[in-house]
C-alpha cells in the first residue's frame, strides 16, 4: 500500500533521508521511530505530498505521490504533529469542509461527523468556534477530520501529544482496529512503550538512514537481547558508532 523506493531528500548539503526503501502492506501498524532530527517528519511529509523527494519515488496504492497527489491524498488520512484548524470555523464546519473536499455526499458527511464526534467526545463542542478549543480538543478534531472518510491509510505524526489518558487509550485502540480491519497505519512516535504495545512492525531511522525494519521480536533476536525493552534496544541502536555502520534490516537479513 505504501512504498518508498530509494527515496532521498536533501536540504542543501544536509541529507535528511538517505536512500530509504520501505514497503508497508495492508493490515500493518508501522511505528516509525528515531531521535529528534532523524528524518521521521521529512519522510512523513514526503508521504503526504508536502515535500518532494530529491531522488526516488513514494508510491501510495500504486500511485506516485509526486504525480498523482490528489489520488494519494484521497487514500490517506493525515494527523500532523502541528495540526492546523481554521480558527473562525466551528468544529462541524471544519469537518464538513474536509468531507466535501473528499467527495462525500451530504448524508455520508452527516453520518460520518456524528460517528466521529461521538467517538472523540466532541458532541458538546462541535458547534463552538475552533478558537475556543483546548489543545486536546483540537487534536481530537484533527483525528476526526482524518478519519471522516475512513481512509485505507492513516498517517499520524506524534498522535498522543496533548491527549489525556482516556483519549490516548481510545486512540491506541482505534489505531489497532484500523490495522486489524485491513487498513494501514503509518505512525511516527517518541513514546517507545506505546510503539512496543501496539505496533505490528517498527522502523528505526537515525541521521536519515533506516537502521532497522521489522518486528520488536526480530529486533530482540537481531540484537541477541531477549529480555530487553524496546527503549533499551533503541538507545543502543542509535548510538553514533552503530549509525556509522549503515542500514541493517531484519527483512534484509532474513
Amino acid at each position: 500500500m505504501i512504498d518508498f523506493v530509494h527515496v532521498t531528500r536533501r536540504f542543501g548539503k544536509v541529507v535528511a533521508v538517505n536512500d530509504l526503501c520501505l514497503s508497508i502492506g495492508r493490515g500493518e501498524l508501522f511505528a516509525f521511530l528515531g531521535p529528534n532530527g532523524a528524518g521521521k517528519t521529512t519522510t512523513i511529509k514526503m508521504l503526504v505530498g508536502l515535500l518532494q523527494p530529491t531522488a526516488g519515488r513514494v508510491l501510495v496504492g500504486g500511485f506516485d505521490v509526486g504525480q498523482h497527489t490528489r489520488e494519494c491524498a484521497q487514500l490517506m488520512g493525515y494527523v500532523p504533529d502541528q495540526p492546523f484548524l481554521y480558527e473562525k470555523l466551528s468544529g462541524r464546519e471544519f469537518l464538513e469542509f474536509v468531507a466535501q473536499i473528499r467527495g462525500m455526499s451530504r448524508q455520508e458527511t452527516e453520518r460520518a461527523i456524528r460517528e466521529q464526534a461521538e467517538r472523540f467526545e466532541l458532541v458538546g463542542f462541535l458547534d463552538d468556534l475552533v478558537e475556543t478549543y483546548s489543545h486536546g480538543m483540537r487534536q481530537r478534531t484533527v483525528f476526526a477530520a482524518a478519519l471522516l472518510h475512513r481512509p485505507p491509510i492513516l498517517v499520524v505524526d506524534e498522535p498522543m501529544v496533548g491527549l489525556d489518558p482516556k483519549s490516548t487509550r481510545m486512540v491506541k485502540d482505534l489505531l489497532c482496529d484500523w490495522a486489524r480491519q485491513g487498513g494501514v497505519v503509518f505512525m511516527s512516535i517518541h513514546t517507545l512503550s506505546i510503539a512496543e504495545e501496539i505496533a505490528t512492525r517498527i522502523g528505526i531511522i537515525h541521521r536519515g538512514q533506516l537502521l532497522f525494519d521489522g518486528t520488536v521480536e526480530e529486533l530482540r533476536r537481531q540484537m541477541a537481547a531477549p529480555d530487553e525493552s524496546l527503549e533499551s534496544m533503541f538507545l543502543q541502536l542509535t548510538l553514533e558508532e552503530r549509525a556509522a555502520q549503515g542500514p541493517v534490516t531484519a527483512r534484509e537479513a532474513s
Partner: protein, 612 residues
C-alpha cells in the same frame, strides 16, 4: 449488496463501527476512493463556502467586539473618500475653467495615465507580496496540500484573498477621483455604470501578473539563492540611477513654469502607451464620458479579455509549479543559519552601559529581534528612505523667493507628517510588543526581574528608536528648507517631546490592553487597543503642533515673498503670538511627558497585577 460489490461500484462504504471495511482487492479499494474525487466545480463551491463562513464569523465578531475599530475605520474611510472626491472635483473644475478644451483632453489623459500606471505598479507589487505570504507562509496551505485539492484551487483561493487586500485601497482611491471627473464633465449615465466593471477588470490584470511573477520568481530564486541578491541589487541600483537622472534633468526648468509643465508632460507620455492596461482603462472611461458607448465597451472588452487571460495563465502556472515550489520553500525555511554577535549589538551594548544591566539586556534582546526580522526593518527603511528622498529634493523650494511662504508652511507640515509616521510605527511595532512578550512570559516571568523593568526597557527602546529618526528627519528637512535657527531648535524640542509621548503611550497602552491570543503583531495593532493608540497619538500630535508648532511658524516664519512674518505684517498680534509661542513651547514637553507618564503608570499597574 455485498461489501466488495459496494466498493467496486465506486462508493466509499462508511461502515458501522467494528466491522472490516477494507475488504476486496487492493485495486478495488483504491478505485472506490479515487472515484469519489470531487469535480473542479464542487471544489470551487466548497472553497467559496469556506470563505463565506470565515467572513461571516469575522464580520460578526468585529461588530460584536471591535465596533469602535470598525466605526473609526468606516468614518475615516468615508472622510478620506469625501475629501478625495471634493478635492478631485475642485481640481477638475479648475482645469476645465482655466485650460482650453483641446489642451484639457491632453491634460486629463496624462493625469489618468499617471494615476493608473502608478496604481497598476502598486497593485502588481502588493498582490505579489501578499500572495507570497499567503501561499508560502500561511499555515492553512500545509493542511490544504494534504487534502485531495487541486494545486490551482489553492492558488485561486489565496489569489482571491490577495486580490481583495491589494485592491480595496485602489477602489477607495480611484472611485472618488473618477466620480468627480464624471460629475464635472457631465458624463452620461453609462459612464457610472461601466466604471465599476472597468475597475474590477483592470485590477485583475496587474494582480494576476503579480501572482505569476511571485510563483515564477520564488521558483527561480529558490533554485538559485544568489539570484535574489543580484535581482534586488539591480533593481535598487537602476531605481536610484533613474531617480537621480530624473531629478537632475526633468526639473531643470523653473518649477511650475509653463516650460516645466511641458517637460513633465513629455516625460509622462509613456503612460499612454497603447499596450498598457492603464491606457485601456483610461480610454474606456474617457470614451464613456465623451458619449461614445461603443468605443468604451470595446476597451472594456479588451480589459476583460486580458484579465481572464492573465488569470488563466496564473492558474496554469500554479497547476504546474505550486506543489514543487512549496516543497522547495519548505526546504528553504529549514535551512540552518548560524548567528553570532553582530557589531551593531556590541556598539549598542557599549552605548547603553549607563543603564542597569537588566534593562540593557532586555533592550539588546528587542533590538536583535527587530534586526533579524526583515518584515519590520524593511518597512521602516522604505518609509524613512522615501521621506529622506523627499526632504533632499524639497531643497528646490528654498531657492525661489516666491516660495518663501511655502517653505514656512511646508516645514510645519513636514513636522506633522514625520510625527504621524512615527505614530504609525509606534502603533505597528511598539504597541504589540507586550502582547507578544506575554506569549513568552514563562521565560521572563521566571527570571529575577521586576515586571516594570520590562516595560521601562520597552519604553527606552521605543524612545531611542523614535527620537533618532524623528530628530534626524526634521533636521534634514529644516536644513534643506533653510529655516531659521530658532524654528530649527523649536522643532527639535517638539520632536523629542513627541517621541517620548508616543513611545510612552504605545508601551503603556500595550501593557494596559494586551492581546495575548493573537500571534500576529499586525493584527494586534489593528485591534481595539491599536486603534485607540493611533487615535490618542493623533491627539498628542495635534496638541503639540497646535500648542507650539503653529505659533512658532506664525511668529518666526516668513509668509510673504519679501520674507515678512505675521507679526511684522500685523504688529497688534505680536504680543499674543509671542505668549502663545512661549507658553506652547514650555507646554509641549509637559504634554509629551503626560502622554508618556499616565499610560506608563496605568500600564505598569495593570502589568504587575496581570496573571499569566
Amino acid at each position: 449488496m455485498s461489501r466488495s460489490a459496494n466498493l467496486s461500484a465506486g462508493t466509499i462504504d462508511i461502515a458501522t463501527e467494528g466491522t472490516p471495511f477494507f475488504a476486496g482487492s487492493l485495486q478495488s479499494v483504491v478505485n472506490s476512493y479515487t472515484a469519489r474525487l470531487p469535480s473542479s466545480w464542487t471544489e470551487g463551491t466548497t472553497f467559496s463556502q469556506l470563505r463565506r463562513r470565515i467572513f461571516r464569523t469575522v464580520l460578526w465578531q468585529t461588530i460584536q467586539n471591535s465596533w469602535l475599530q470598525l466605526g473609526v475605520m468606516a468614518l475615516l474611510s468615508a472622510v478620506l473618500w469625501l475629501a478625495l472626491f471634493l478635492l478631485s472635483a475642485d481640481g477638475f473644475l479648475f482645469l476645465k475653467n482655466t485650460i482650453p478644451a483641446d489642451l484639457l483632453v491632453e491634460v486629463i489623459e496624462v493625469i489618468f495615465g499617471v494615476f493608473f500606471v502608478t496604481l497598476m505598479i502598486m497593485l502588481a507589487f502588493s498582490s505579489a507580496i501578499l500572495l507570497y505570504g499567503s501561499l508560502f507562509r500561511s499555515p492553512d496551505v500545509g493542511l490544504l496540500l494534504t487534502l485531495p485539492v487541486r494545486a490551482e484551487r489553492i492558488f485561486v483561493f489565496k489569489y482571491g484573498d490577495a486580490f481583495f487586500l491589494s485592491s480595496w485601497a485602489f477602489l477607495l482611491l480611484g472611485t472618488p477621483v473618477l466620480l468627480a471627473y464624471g460629475v464635472v464633465v457631465q458624463a452620461p449615465w453609462y459612464y457610472y455604470l461601466l466604471m465599476p466593471a472597468n475597475l474590477v477588470a483592470f485590477t485583475h490584470i496587474p494582480a494576476s501578473f503579480g501572482a505569476i511573477v511571485c510563483l515564477v520568481l520564488v521558483h527561480r530564486i529558490l533554485r538559485r539563492p544568489g539570484l535574489l541578491a543580484i535581482l534586488a541589487g539591480t533593481v535598487v541600483v537602476f531605481g536610484l540611477a533613474w531617480g537621480v537622472w530624473y531629478v537632475r534633468t526633468a526639473l531643470s526648468e523653473q518649477a511650475l513654469a509653463p516650460e516645466w509643465f511641458q517637460q513633465i508632460f513629455a516625460r509622462l507620455r509613456f503612460t499612454q502607451h497603447r499596450l498598457l492596461p492603464s491606457w485601456w482603462l483610461s480610454s474606456a472611461l474617457l470614451e464613456a464620458s465623451r458619449h461614445q458607448p461603443v468605443e468604451s465597451l470595446a476597451f472594456l472588452g479588451v480589459l476583460v479579455a486580458n484579465a481572464l487571460f492573465f488569470r488563466q495563465i496564473g492558474v496554469w502556472t500554479a497547476a504546474g509549479l505550486f506543489r514543487r515550489v512549496f516543497s522547495e520553500a519548505q526546504a528553504g525555511q529549514t535551512r540552518r543559519r548560524k548567528v553570532r554577535l553582530h557589531s551593531l549589538d556590541r556598539w549598542l551594548s557599549a552605548s547603553l552601559s549607563p543603564l542597569p544591566l537588566q534593562t540593557r539586556v532586555l533592550l539588546l534582546k528587542d533590538f536583535r529581534l527587530f534586526r533579524r526580522d526583515p518584515v519590520q526593518w524593511t518597512q521602516v527603511l522604505i518609509f524613512f528612505g522615501l521621506l529622506v528622498l523627499y526632504f533632499i529634493n524639497i531643497r528646490r523650494f528654498s531657492y525661489e523667493t516666491y516660495y518663501q511662504g511655502w517653505v514656512n508652511m511646508v516645514s510645519l507640515l513636514n513636522l506633522a507628517v514625520v510625527a504621524l509616521l512615527i505614530s504609525t510605527f509606534t502603533t505597528r511595532f511598539i504597541f504589540p510588543m507586550i502582547s507578544l512578550e506575554g506569549r513568552n512570559f514563562w521565560i521572563l516571568g521566571l527570571l529575577p526581574l521586576k515586571r516594570e523593568t520590562l516595560l521601562w526597557s520597552k519604553f527606552w527602546f521605543a524612545t531611542v528608536g523614535t527620537v533618532i529618526p524623528c530628530c534626524g528627519l526634521i533636521l534634514l528637512s529644516d536644513s534643506m528648507l533653510g529655516v531659521s535657527p530658532k524654528i530649527l531648535a523649536t522643532h527639535q524640542l517638539l520632536c523629542v517631546s513627541l517621541a517620548v509621548g508616543l513611545s510612552g503611550l504605545a508601551v503603556g497602552l500595550g501593557a494596559k490592553i494586551p492581546n495575548f491570543r493573537e500571534p500576529s503583531p499586525a493584527k494586534i495593532a489593528a485591534g481595539f487597543g491599536g486603534t485607540l493608540n493611533l487615535i490618542l497619538s493623533t491627539v498628542l500630535i495635534v496638541s503639540v503642533v497646535m500648542a507650539a508648532g503653529l505659533p512658532t511658524h506664525l511668529l518666526l516664519g516668513s509668509w510673504t515673498p519679501g520674507g515678512s512674518t505675521i507679526a511684522e505684517l500685523h504688529p497688534q498680534l505680536e504680543p499674543l503670538l509671542r505668549w502663545w509661542w512661549l507658553l506652547g513651547t514650555v507646554a509641549s514637553p509637559v504634554i509629551g511627558g503626560l502622554f508618556a507618564a499616565v499610560p506608563m503608570w496605568l500600564g505598569i499597574r495593570a502589568f504587575c497585577r496581570m496573571e499569566f
